[in-house]
Symmetry: C2
Subunit: 338 residues, 2 copies
């Protein structure tokens, strides 16, 4: 079995450099990190003697990699995953990364350095390729998303998610059913190969099915997934005009930011503008008026992710896919168009 | 060095029972758990061979025990602790427990089962005794609180916190300076031996210094630290009368729930009632109006906790205490009494 020295020799770098990569230190260049990790995989490196002992006796640690830890939608899911892990007697190692970071590369490093048996990825990309996920080397569950834009076979990975397109369709149709025709959509980017792109598709289809022409001016892209960006984007638009009667926001947090922007522009919800979202975070119960939203089963998303991972780790199954549904919570933010 | 069999023999229980306790399984009675852990301490048990190897080579794992994971105030602090740990190349093992649970007992079990080198306790009790914390056996940092009601010597533990009483005094005085005399306080319990009791003291002192008599009817105890309880308590009171012109809430989340209760009772903030809180969570920027609050330096609270723990673990110091200050963010929820 290869040692850290073998990898250093193979890559022509210092042993201490390999050590830094294996311990996930930040002060290593991306080139070096990739080279070292590739060599570690190629040489079938397992971190150290203790790790080999632990592997033999099956360490119980699973990793939870959260992309976008600022997202309040993840709070309840993380808690649910942590509890389910504790109930199952396994350790959860939490690793939070920014929205822009590559969760697969970070997860692969984490698996090696922390000797993880499995992974739950929360809030990741929808476009993994088989090649890139091969670096993970342990079973993983995509939580809150699936591989819609990627090339993975269903048997090769697991997922727990809602049907983004169908739920966005439902939210948009709810506004249309209330008489709205000029409906803005608030999202990160229509080309994010992720949640926004999928939900945008549902929005477009609902409009098309109701014979409402898509107006690109009403597609509010924020460029990043944050309340601050959502607030800015809405405020900018409203500073010139308001030519829409409703907003579909792809997330509760964005909807709450939009409500603030509407209020700051002197507009009342729902009288001047209706708003609906998807998520159902606790805070959305306390907005004025209460946010109308499609509530995701947050605890179940976390519990099912852990259950599937345990089933895969125990050999009971090789993969699992769960598609959950949302529940409409009619608050006070959607009124009839007038 | 003692083995799991020694402990089983010492306690007269099955080896599998000792194993379950060490792995933090839920299906062990509290009596048995206590007995096994006491024996493990007495016999100087270290979990297994791998663990001993790791101990020799210094495992890098620190535990983060979060009491009250629902609290949105913790989100940014957890992220900051996680990032600081990652930057330092050490693993963070997250363990979330309900507000009612005993974080010391849980942390002690975690230290043993996960071979932790140190601990950060987030949102814990203010009344530890030297006897109970002796079970932890590793350095720990109290994050967001200190040992105000306990008997620990300053040298025996570490803490990063704000001065709860002084900050509550400041918040209350801010309302008094705006002409308010009938000021309600919204908190968990005035006898919680924790954050609410300390902040209640500051509220009382500010009233006393302004020669305002304390009216016990205006002390809104919720019985538990949650938005739901805060909303209910305020709504119940408002259903009979509103004989106050301002509220000091001990936390942003409670203030947001109170704003919802005021709105549902047909009252406008700040026209009919002013409100101020302590915390500065992201969501409080998006309430209508923006919440006036004393912003805690959330990232710094987390960073300093990790820094102190590292200093203690490296032997550079034996303990550390940091007292941080808040920053007043004047939103739109405090107006002049009229």
């Amino acid at each position: 079995m290869a040692t850290i020295k073998d990898i250093a020799a193979y890559c022509d770098v210092a042993v201490s450099t390999v050590s830094r990569v294996m311990n996930n230190h930040p002060d290593v260049s991306e080139d070096t990190r990739s080279k070292v990790l590739a060599a570690a995989r190629k040489l079938h490196y397992v971190p150290n003697n203790s790790a080999r002992d632990l592997a033999a006796s099956q360490t119980d640690a699973v990793g939870l990699v959260v992309r976008g830890a600022e997202n309040p939608f993840f709070t309840r899911i993380i808690r649910s995953i942590e509890r389910s892990c504790a109930d199952a007697g396994c350790t959860m190692v939490l690793h939070q990364i920014p929205v822009g970071a590559d969760e697969i590369e970070r997860a692969a490093t984490l698996v090696q350095s922390k000797r993880l048996r499995g992974l739950i990825l929360l809030g990741g990309r929808y476009d993994y390729t088989s090649e890139e996920v091969s670096s993970l080397r342990v079973p993983y569950v995509c939580c809150t998303y699936t591989n819609h834009f990627g090339d993975l076979s269903r048997e090769s990975f697991s997922s727990v998610s809602i049907n983004d397109k169908a739920e966005a369709y439902r939210a948009t149709k709810y506004l249309i059913d209330h008489g709205h025709q000029r409906i803005a959509v608030l999202l990160d980017s229509i080309h994010d190969r992720s949640i926004s792109e999928r939900r945008y598709k549902g929005y477009c289809e609902a409009l098309a099915d109701a014979n409402i022409a898509l107006d690109e001016h009403l597609v509010f892209e924020t460029g990043e997934f944050s309340m601050e960006a959502a607030y800015k984007r809405c405020s900018e638009y409203l500073s010139s005009k308001q030519d829409f009667t409703a907003i579909f926001a792809v997330a509760d947090s964005m909807a709450i930011a939009a409500m603030k922007a509407l209020s700051d522009a002197g507009l009342a919800v729902p009288h001047d503008c209706s708003i609906i979202a998807i998520d159902g975070i606790e805070m959305s119960l306390y907005t004025v008026p209460t946010l109308t939203t499609l509530v995701q089963p947050q605890s179940t998303l976390g519990e099912e992710a852990v259950r599937i991972l345990r089933d895969v780790l125990s050999g009971a199954t090789t993969s699992g896919h769960i598609r959950l549904e949302t529940t409409l919570r009619a608050g006070g933010t959607v009124g009839h168009a007038h």
